[in-house]
């Protein structure tokens, strides 16, 4: 019997392009700029290279396998073992959600609602996130099918507006501060990366054909390249004061002559990116909810998406005062956790899948 796959290769490619770059354009550039300065693009390049390599390894090992991540874990570690590992991934996704959501909340309230108190403005996001969490995976794929358009248009327009003020000289000379700040910047930025984990949850849920791996990898690199271009233009525009531009997406084009003439025209591209951003921010919650549904094997699949959304909301409301500490914690100690589960464990899991494959062949 033909198996119906919820995703298509094209949707995975567009998923990376539509959703990966958006959340990296808010505060990540200014945070990395504070450490790596004009070499911040190298930090991003390292992250990109690590992620791309991880993705390539995972794909090479387990893409052709007709088994999903849950199956790999269950076959390797048993039911209980797989549940324990999945619970680590649940924490991973929850942590991955907190920082981008809180930064986007701050961005929205500080940038768009400075005339009014904007505390409750961000609440509808959680409705959208919860709503997405209720939908099957094919819905995420279909969202990618369409939302890559606003992402690309918004991004190109933003870069077009900013490019006039870009000075290459700000990025020169390369590596003057040594390798340490570059690697530190890369380490700090790791909570925003590690997106190859998503592929782990797509594996076995689409029909992998010849050359699909190359297509997926190229689209992943294209998504990372968008971030890289943004970072380069950002530092080239602001140079040594780049770290002071908290919300890079809002600041990068503010010197454009078009804006001087007709107002904040660049907000149109920001809105386009925010449309993809809402789905992008919901993705960690989506997979956190899916993992919990899988662990508990609950019959009412709406309960955990609701709980996950509520927990994130509660964290944001209760710990609003301590955002700086949260940011410090996540970009500091939690970065190791992100590297461990975002880059190292996926390769280990993929290797386990290889072992399983041999086992299957032997059995057959």
């Amino acid at each position: 019997m033909n198996r119906i796959f919820p995703l298509k290769t094209r949707q995975i490619c567009l998923f990376f392009i539509a959703f990966l770059p958006v959340n990296k354009l808010f505060i990540m550039p200014s945070i990395v700029a504070a450490t790596a300065r004009q070499d911040m693009w190298m930090s991003a390049l390292i992250n990109m290279a690590i992620d791309a390599a991880t993705l390539a390894v995972i794909m090479f090992i387990c893409a052709k396998r007709n088994i999903d991540f849950y199956g790999i874990l269950e076959n390797t570690f048993g039911k209980t073992g797989s549940k324990i590992i999945l619970s680590f991934y649940f924490v991973f996704f929850m942590l991955k959600a907190v920082l981008p959501i809180s930064e986007q909340r701050d961005f929205v309230t500080l940038t768009f609602y400075f005339t009014r108190p904007g505390g409750f403005i961000f609440l509808p996001f959680f409705l959208a996130a919860f709503y997405l969490c209720l939908k099957p995976l094919r819905c995420v794929g279909r969202c990618a099918d369409l939302l890559f358009i606003p992402t690309i248009i918004g991004f190109v327009f933003l870069i077009f507006l900013s490019f006039g003020n870009f000075e290459l000289g700000a990025l020169l000379p390369f590596g003057i501060n040594g390798a340490a700040p570059i690697f530190e910047g890369s380490y700090i930025a790791s909570p925003w990366y590690g997106d190859c984990v998503y592929y782990l949850f797509f594996a076995g849920r689409y029909l992998h054909k010849k050359k699909d791996g190359v297509k997926i990898l190229l689209s992943y690199i294209a998504a990372c390249a968008m971030v890289l271009i943004f970072i380069v233009v950002f530092y080239g525009t602001f140079s040594v004061i780049a770290f002071r531009q908290r919300f890079a997406i809002n600041e990068i084009s503010k010197y454009s002559t078009i804006i001087n003439n007709i107002g904040r025209f660049d907000y149109l591209s920001t809105f386009m990116l925010l449309i993809s951003g809402v789905v992008s921010l919901s993705l960690p919650l989506y997979f956190a909810g899916e993992i919990m549904n899988r662990i508990t094997e609950i019959k009412k699949p709406w309960i955990f998406p609701l709980i996950v959304s509520a927990i994130t909301l509660a964290v944001l409301v209760v710990l609003e005062q301590y955002f700086a500490s949260i940011e410090k914690f996540i970009t500091g100690y939690a970065s190791a956790y992100f590297i461990l589960l975002g880059n190292l464990f996926p390769i280990v899991a993929a290797l386990f899948s290889l072992k399983e494959k041999k086992h299957e062949i032997y059995q057959s």
């Binding site: 609602y113 009014r116 819905c139 279909r142 969202c143 107002g263 904040r264 907000y267």
Partner: protein, 483 residues
């Protein structure tokens, strides 16, 4: 209940069950034997009944037998029935019933004559170029219109009767060899399962065919034009034509269908692409413009260019209502005028347009109740919505929701609401067909007739979004010769 041999008994039962002033029981003799013709007065061709049934039978010079009916009555539709219930059903649908003493069966002749409207251009889909024929309320006429368009034995009709009291004839229409057989069988099953008092219009059937009862959007396509219906069933869709309704239904439905107009196919590809882009842009503008304007006024003044901001500031000066109430109030007036102009008699409609549009609008602005930009935005939004009239109702509701969201939460609320709408649309499926196909999921082959309207050589295959069993629409040879 079986018919009796005794004519008197049969007649008594029939008179009891269907006795009414418009039902005739015409008694006469066939070679000395008592006989009765039973029919409903106003739905039978009485002249034909006299010529084709009464005359040959009354002039008969031999004893009556069922063979006599076969040999002497030249009605194209003949049927013999053994039960009272079936006899009554046939009489009520406009057939003439012959009962003869000593025969335990009734003979039925199809001599229906209903008054019907002439074939005219449907008001809901007028075209500048292209056929102007529209369906009427008569199922046989509509079937004949389809037969005239598609003169092929592959065009199939499956007749059914629905409605406990209305006994409405419903026909399933498809092309054998193109339409998915499973879909035909499923629709047949669904329509047969409809058990309601009456089916007075095709919209009654729509409710039973839709898979999501609470859906805001249409789930079943519809058209009033035979040329469009022919084109749709040639793509693999299955049509449902209901007697008494000029609107034929089509399954499965894609949202894109309503952005396509018949004139797109009768003109050049360039004009079709332009028109489709315009429709998409107009609908987007119609939904977002009021909400965007209100949220910009309330929360995001920095979005507006300074000169525009000054113009708005001077026009809203002295307006007693807040921007969101003002927009809501103006939208309410617009919707009321819209509703009234649809319901009102035509001769009053003109007055309503003048009073509503000019006097009411102008006076409200002059009196300082609403501002000119608000009025202009609502009027423009209203006009834009009618570029896709089939979706007007759904989008009106969405516009209202967006206005409330924009007025209370601002632009971020609008973004989130748009994402929710988007998720809803992409996850929506009917008969295993995604509503947003060929855009989400992307069906590359079908994008050639999406917003972009491809040229002839690009339309070689039937749509992939709709299940069909024969993909080739234009032969390779034809395409090569054309090139």
């Amino acid at each position: 209940m079986e018919l009796e041999k005794n004519l008197g008994d049969n007649l008594a039962v029939l008179k009891k069950k269907i006795g009414s002033d418009d039902v005739s029981f015409m008694e006469f003799k066939i070679h000395g034997k008592n006989a009765v013709l039973v029919f409903v007065n106003d739905i039978v061709n009485k002249e034909a009944a006299g010529e084709l049934i009464l005359r040959p039978l009354s002039e008969l010079e031999c004893d009556f037998s069922p063979q006599v009916v076969a040999n002497n009555i030249f009605s194209p539709e003949k049927k013999e029935v053994l039960t009272v219930e079936e006899t009554i059903d046939e009489i009520m649908t406009g057939n003439v019933c012959l009962l003869v003493d000593g025969t335990a069966e009734s003979f039925l002749f199809g001599l229906r004559k209903f008054e019907k409207r002439a074939i005219a251009e449907p008001p809901t889909s007028t075209v500048i170029k292209g056929p102007r024929e529209g369906f009427v309320e008569s199922l046989p006429v509509n079937i004949s219109l389809m037969r005239r368009r598609l003169k092929t034995p592959h065009l199939k009709f499956v007749n059914m009767v629905v409605g406990r009291y209305s006994k409405t004839p419903v026909a399933l229409c498809y092309i054998d060899g193109i339409a998915d057989k499973k879909l035909v069988a499923l629709l047949k099953k669904k329509i047969s399962a409809i058990d309601i008092d009456a089916v007075l219009d095709s919209s009654y059937v729509t409710k039973f065919l839709g898979e999501h009862e609470t859906s805001l959007f249409k789930q079943i396509g519809n058209t009033e034009k035979p040329d469009i219906l022919a084109a749709k069933i040639l793509e693999g869709r299955v049509a449902v034509i209901v007697d008494g309704s000029p609107i034929a239904l089509t399954v499965p439905y894609l949202l894109l269908e309503d952005f396509q107009s018949p004139s797109d196919y009768y003109g050049s590809s360039y004009s079709a692409i332009f028109a489709r882009l315009l429709r998409l842009f107009a609908v987007t503008l119609s939904i977002y413009l009021p909400a965007f304007f209100v949220s910009a006024e309330l929360f995001h003044l920095q979005l507006l260019p300074l000169s525009f901001l000054l113009t708005i500031a001077s026009s809203i000066k002295g307006i007693p209502l807040s921007p969101s109430y003002e927009m809501f109030f103006t939208l309410a007036i617009f919707e009321i005028l819209n509703e009234a102009s649809v319901r009102m008699p035509k001769y009053v409609g003109m007055v309503v347009s003048i009073v509503g549009g000019l006097v009411l609008g102008e006076t409200a602005v002059a009196a300082g109740i609403i501002s000119a930009p608000t009025l202009m935005i609502i009027a423009f939004s209203g006009i834009c919505l009618y570029t896709v009239p089939e979706l007007e109702q759904a989008f009106s509701i969405i516009r209202l929701i967006f206005l409330i969201v924009g007025g209370s939460v601002g632009l971020y609320g609008l973004i989130v609401a748009s994402v929710c709408l988007f998720i809803y649309l992409v996850s929506f499926e009917n008969y295993s067909t995604p509503l947003m196909a060929p855009f989400a999921p992307i069906v590359k082959e079908d994008l050639k007739d999406g917003i972009y309207k491809g040229f002839l050589s690009q339309q070689q295959k039937r749509p992939y979004s709709i299940k069909n069993i024969n993909r080739n629409r234009i032969s390779d040879k034809c395409v090569k010769e054309h090139e």
